[in-house]
Each structure stands twice: as structure tokens, then as C-alpha cells.
Symmetry: C2
Subunit: 278 residues, 2 copies
């Protein structure tokens, strides 16, 4: 297997050499910021939005890296060039370098390219299942490295034949462990607007829906509204726009992928193709 | 500075060489188990109880290490011997070795000795302050590496002159970020009995209180009960039995360290001295 090159806080290095001392806050206290984006034909997909969010996560978590946004962009470009593997994903990490807990935490900044097997076509044709759990992510607007509940519930998700877990709290749905949730009812597209991580795919889908003259509401969505929707779908960097047809074993509407979801999937894929061919 | 020797999943190694790949679940997903105990005069303090809890955390988090309890004990003994630094602390870690999410997660097992400056005498004479936050640890009975809220609130804790944050949820207090909480009212000692990490110092203090013929109740404790207590104290491996005289800026009772707390502090220290001199 070809060695993958990443960026290790100032130097390009094989990704296997990018390690964190076990006693640092990044491991010992599970504290750090993270972002994740797609690279299509060696071009990052909506990089600006991802970097906006990454730097926002740093701010929310009081993390400091030694590099400006411009430098981060240049390092990402160089990592893509050095690997030249066409379609893949990139992880950005800011992980505290030591174990003190000063007002701001000095971080190592790391870029890690990862390959990821795309989901099969069937799941986009037939839709996927979710399970739900009462939970709300801590400091939800920051993309922290805290995914304890996801890994904790992983077996239960798999056993249920679900693709992810949808979190809800006080009767309203929030987000999935790694994505955002949308419902469609009477041609109105709704998605939770607060106490969530604002996904980049989420923002792209909102743009597409508005361009298509659909009404989009960012508002609290109750569990009742979820289960009585005409259509449900989720968005994420790896899953793109993914139709949801079953939640906690209950079929949503007809159990088939709805027309609004189909349109959004189609337009989203067009943007990816534009990125590829530009 | 003398090099500190730890244990790195099968080999003794300098602690600085004990690292985790950034892309592993231990960093990327903040998933792992942890324990922490004191070593007094090269002898671990209540090791059996700590190991009971460590192996229970592994079970709750579906983590597997390659070593039996007997082996773990032998490795701890050898790490203590190789360092021979008298009084210090030890961290045990089980961190997933790779990024898949199989039914059980194969972990690296690590032993990391750490030094820690003891708290000054004054805080035991005058008592400490806490702030409170609405929060409940996820999978609270497992000592996971998820301390996101603690680090997130660290500045606020410091600014308030507090030593830690006390979590409460649905009107009842739970635990501090790294310790357990007790109240005393009319000579009855009460402490939350569920949805918490059962601290080893907590269990020792319960034993001491019962031996002293005090009534001990493990039961839900409301915020009201907390603020109208005669005495409040917390327990932890580094803080031992620490009197709390102020919470959210409000003075508890007279603002002085109470007699039950004093007795428990004293008896706890006796057990530490027994460990030292045995």
C-alpha cells in the first residue's frame, strides 16, 4: 500500500507518524477540534465553509494553532498534491499539545487524508434506517472529538440495521451522530436550527432548496413531526443527501424515497460533478 | 529531569514514547477507558478497588485488552519498581488500537506514572469553592476519557476561584468533574448513589463513616438539600477528603469546616499513613 502523507504541525509526514501522547488532553481528556471534508478529483469540496467552521470550533473550544487560515489552505493544497489520489477525504485536527489547562490551549495542527468506501447505490434508491436516542451533544456548535455516545451505541445501531443514531432532547430532534436531519411536509423543508453542529452539506442543501423555490424553515422539529413527515433525509460529508425511510422500525410515510429528497440528491450530486470537472 | 518509565501495551517504555495515532478512535472519537490511583511510598493505595473499576469500565465501553488482571497487577508493580519515586500517581489507559467499530474494541493498554503537586494545607483548613453546572456524564459508571465539559468550563471554574465544577441534572446533584460529593445534615452523611462514577475515595469514606457509626445514605440529593446542608465535602484520588464551604458564591452553613468532615479527613489520612508504613 502506498504511504499516505499528512501534515504534522509544521512538517509533512506519513500519517502513521502523526501521534498524540496518551497523557495529553487530546487523549486523556478527550479534548480537541476536528473537521472533515471531501476531496473530489484532487479538489476540496466547499473548503471555505469547512475552514470557517474549523476556525469557529477552535474559538468555541479555546484552542490555538500556530498557523493562519491562509497557511492552513496552503498546507491542505500541498497535502492533496503530494498524495494525488483523486477522490478521498481529509481530516483536520487541532489537539492540545500539553496537559495544562491555560485560558487558551496551544494545539498541534494535523492534516490526515483518509480513504472511505462510498456507500452503495442501493441505499440511495431504497433509503436508510435510523434509531433514535435521547441525547444532546455538549457544546454542539463546535466540532469536537467527543463521539463517545456514537461508539457506545455503535452495536445497537448495527443490530437495528440502521446507518446512524438520531439524537433528540426535550421532545425535539437535534442531529445524527455525524450529520444533520431534514423533514419535508407539504413541500416545506424543515431542519433543526439550534443546538446542533451546522453541517456543510446541510448548508449546501439549504442553498439548493432555496434556489429551487422551496420553503425552508430552520426551526425546532418535534419527534411527532418527524414521524408524520412526508419525507426525511439526512446530510453529511460521507453520506451526501441520504433518504431515511425508517426510524426506530417505523416506516416514514410510504417508505419510499420522496420527490423533494430525490431532487436535492440530484442537485447535490451535480455540485459534486461541477467540482470534479472545474 | 529523570526519565519516567511507563508500560506501552507489552513493553516498558519512556512515557513520552507512549503515543496514540491521531486518527484512532482514542483521539478522533474521544473513546477510551481510564483509571487513576495514588502510589504512597511505592505502594498503590487501594489498588484492588481501582482495578475492579477499570475492568468494569472496559466491560461497559466494550473494550478489550490483551492482559489479564494478574498481568496488569504485575506490570503496575514493575513500573513502580523501575521508577522508585515514592509518592506519585498512576494512570491506566485502554485506548482502541484502530479505527473500526467492531462489537468489542481491541485496545492498547498503557500505564503512565505522573507526579502531581499536592494541594496546600490551607484548602483543607479553610475549605474550597465549587461552581455548579447542569450536566450529566454520558455512561457515568464508566471512567471514560470524556472530560470535554471540564476543560470547556475550566476558565469559568478558575475565574470563580473554584476548585471544580459540580454537575446537577433534573434538580439533583451528581458528581464533580473528577470526584464525588457528600453532604452532612443532622449527622447523617448523604451522597448520590446512581448515575455517577463510583469513586474509590468515595467508597473508602463510606466505609470510614459506617465504622464510626454514622448513618450513610446513598440517595438522590437535591440542590436545595445541598445548599441547606450542615457540611459539604468532596472526595477524589488527588483531593482526598476536601471540605467545601462555598458553592456558586453561596456559603454553606457557617462557612467553616464541620466536625464530621474533619473526622473523615483525619481517618482518611490515617489509612494513607498505614499504606505508607506497612
Amino acid at each position: 500500500m502506498r504511504e499516505i502523507t499528512g501534515f504534522k504541525n509544521g512538517v509533512y509526514a506519513p500519517v502513521n507518524d502523526i501521534t498524540i501522547p496518551v497523557d495529553n488532553i487530546g487523549v486523556n481528556r478527550g479534548y480537541g477540534a476536528f473537521d472533515f471534508f471531501g476531496v473530489i478529483n484532487n479538489k476540496p469540496f466547499f473548503l471555505n465553509r469547512h475552514l470557517d467552521r474549523f476556525f469557529r470550533s477552535l474559538e468555541l473550544l479555546r484552542l490555538k494553532i500556530d498557523f493562519s487560515r491562509q497557511q492552513v489552505e496552503a498546507y491542505i493544497e500541498e497535502v492533496i498534491k503530494q498524495n494525488n489520489t483523486g477522490d478521498f477525504f481529509m481530516k483536520l485536527f487541532a489537539i492540545p499539545l500539553n496537559s495544562d489547562t491555560a485560558p487558551s490551549l496551544n494545539c498541534g495542527f494535523y492534516i490526515v487524508p483518509v480513504s472511505f468506501m462510498p456507500f452503495g447505490k442501493e441505499i440511495y434508491v431504497n433509503g436508510c434506517s435510523l434509531i433514535t436516542k435521547e441525547y444532546e451533544r455538549f457544546a454542539p456548535e463546535a466540532k469536537s472529538t467527543n463521539y463517545l455516545p456514537l461508539i457506545y451505541w455503535h452495536n445497537e445501531i448495527c443490530t437495528a440495521g440502521a446507518i446512524d443514531v438520531l439524537y433528540h432532547s426535550n421532545g425535539t430532534i437535534k442531529e445524527t451522530s455525524r450529520g444533520n436531519i431534514f423533514i419535508v411536509k407539504n413541500n416545506i423543508v424543515s431542519t433543526p436550527g439550534s443546538d446542533i453542529l451546522r453541517g456543510i452539506s446541510r448548508s449546501i442543501v439549504i442553498d439548493i432548496a432555496k434556489s429551487a423555490n422551496l420553503r425552508v424553515k430552520e426551526k425546532p422539529v418535534s419527534l411527532d413531526e418527524l414521524f408524520t413527515s412526508d419525507e426525511v433525509f439526512l446530510t453529511s460529508t460521507t453520506k451526501k443527501v441520504l433518504p431515511v425511510v425508517k426510524i426506530d422500525g417505523k416506516t416514514i410515510y410510504s417508505g419510499l424515497v420522496g420527490p423533494v429528497t430525490k431532487m436535492l440528491m440530484n442537485e447535490f450530486d451535480k455540485l459534486r460533478e461541477q467540482c470534479r470537472n472545474n
